[in-house]
């Protein structure tokens, strides 16, 4: 009897759609058709993931906002039940990972987040506007003085966030190839677990060494600020190192992708590009940033959570211990929240998108990301009004396996 029931349960699991789903050929920016279908049919339904478990997949905008602010929904991957890990590697390291802002709930999360929040205060980020503008201007000068066509990814998209996060953290930019390579590997779903582990270890060792130097010779940067907290006994050295690695990783690949793919989308939509390029109103550029964040929603693995109590929502009962996958792209293309979601419209009110997540875990670096994108989008197309793709979209190589979506290179000419 029990076997029959188990058999029936596994048959049901077999019939569930498998997550992640592939994007449609020729539609590099749209969510996968199977995701759109799920949202239309039932914005809270079950999927099957790599380990055979069957978490709930949440695809509706309003449902996501309700669940991501629900105290019965936990980001702690050690909570009892079936936390839906992104990869086997992430599952393996969970028990060795210290408590961080990404894997804790209130009140511990509140304590940790407030501790690392200082450098990301809106006014401190705003003070970085002039230095970031200088970085962007310099990189565009170099690109224009160099070979034409150029790869926008290596000429601008990667160096901007790398230079900015290096300066903010106090990490030597000269090491950027090392940390770009290793963070990309650490986040690659298709990478072998041992390769991801080696990459993470290399980054931790590097940051630990650097933190050691900041303990004795502090500078005016975030690592030194954390070193001060370690000395004061407010933070453990391991917490500081993990936090440093997280900021380094989160700080560049995401923004780089928004620069390259955002530019690609604008080049494909010349009337939208003209609005961004020709407007004197900084609100248009800021609006374009929000719309491109919504449209692209580059985090492609979904936020992962587990229920700590039964939750009745959207006509379903999520049981305590059930896993949840919150697919941000799906919510940002939910026509109930954003009419005509497949149209890029830089003038639409897009600010309530979930691209940075929602709830207490919403992206720590979002104000910095916004500032970098506003400066790049507000500068590049004015300085290089003839900018165009030096290849066809069909020939571009998109990254379907990373935590964030992306493009391997973006050849442009002017």
């Amino acid at each position: 009897m029990a076997e029959t029931l188990a058999g029936a349960a596994s048959d049901a699991a077999e019939a569930m759609p498998e997550f992640p789903m592939p994007r449609a050929e020729g539609c590099p920016f749209a969510p996968p058709p199977a995701v759109e279908e799920l949202r239309e049919q039932n914005p809270i339904s079950k999927v099957r993931i790599w380990d055979g478990s069957t978490p709930w997949m949440i695809t509706g905008h309003a449902l996501q906002r309700a669940l991501l602010t629900d105290p019965r929904v936990s980001a702690n991957d050690k909570s009892p039940g079936s936390f839906p890990f992104v990869t086997a590697y992430r599952q393996q390291i969970a028990e060795y990972t210290p408590e961080l802002i990404v894997n804790t709930d209130a009140p511990e999360h509140t304590r940790l987040r407030r501790m690392v929040n200082g450098p990301f205060l809106v006014k401190r980020i705003e003070a970085m506007r002039a230095p970031i503008q200088k970085i962007v201007d310099g990189l565009i000068d170099d690109m224009l003085a160099g070979p034409n066509p150029a790869d926008l990814l290596t000429a601008l998209a990667l160096p901007v966030p790398s230079l900015v996060i290096s300066e903010l953290l106090g990490v030597p930019y000269a090491d950027h190839e090392f940390f770009q390579e290793n963070s990309s590997l650490a986040l690659d779903r298709a990478a072998a677990p041992e390769d991801s582990r080696a990459a993470s270890t290399a980054l931790s060792t590097y940051l630990d060494d650097l933190l050691g130097k900041k303990l004795t010779d502090p500078g005016d940067d975030v690592l030194s600020e954390m070193a001060g907290r370690v000395t004061a006994g407010e933070m453990s050295r391991s917490e500081a190192v993990h936090m440093g690695v997280a900021m380094l990783i989160a700080g560049h690949e995401t923004t780089a992708t928004m620069i390259s793919l955002g530019t690609l989308v604008l080049l494909e939509n010349p009337e939208q590009l003209a609005l961004v390029r020709d407007s004197e109103d900084p609100k248009i550029v800021a609006g374009a940033v929000e719309e491109l964040l919504r449209y692209l929603s580059i985090v492609q693995v979904g936020l992962r959570r587990v229920a700590t109590e039964d939750i009745e929502i959207g006509g379903q009962v999520i049981r305590a211990g059930d896993g949840l996958i919150v697919d941000l792209h799906a919510a940002n293309w939910d026509p109930e929240a954003f009419p005509g979601p497949d149209q890029v419209d830089v003038t639409r009110p897009a600010r309530k998108h979930n691209a940075f997540g929602y709830g207490p875990h919403q992206c720590l670096g979002q104000s910095l990301a916004r500032l970098e994108l506003q400066i790049v989008y507000g500068t590049l197309y004015r300085r290089v009004p003839t900018l165009r793709l030096a290849t066809s979209v069909e020939e571009l190589e998109f990254d379907h396996d990373g935590t964030t979506y992306g493009v391997a290179s973006l050849p442009v000419t002017w």
Partner: protein, 65 residues
């Protein structure tokens, strides 16, 4: 209209400051929101409404008094 800020719920994301800098600020040490204007002038209410809509902690309310 009166603005209510539920400080213990605040996750210090600073979104209210971006939406409505006249009405909200952040504490220097940890970024927790500070209410500058409990009863903002009418012309500031659109910004406050945006802050209410985008606050990731749903910690801000605009109430009729």
């Amino acid at each position: 209209m009166r603005v209510e800020l539920d400080e213990p719920k605040c996750v210090a994301a600073g979104q209210c400051v971006m939406a409505s800098p006249e009405v909200f600020d952040q504490r220097d040490d940890d970024g927790v929101a500070i209410l500058l204007e409990e009863q903002p002038a009418d012309e500031l209410l659109d910004g406050v409404r945006e802050a209410v809509a985008i606050c990731p902690a749903a910690a801000i309310r605009l109430v009729d008094q």
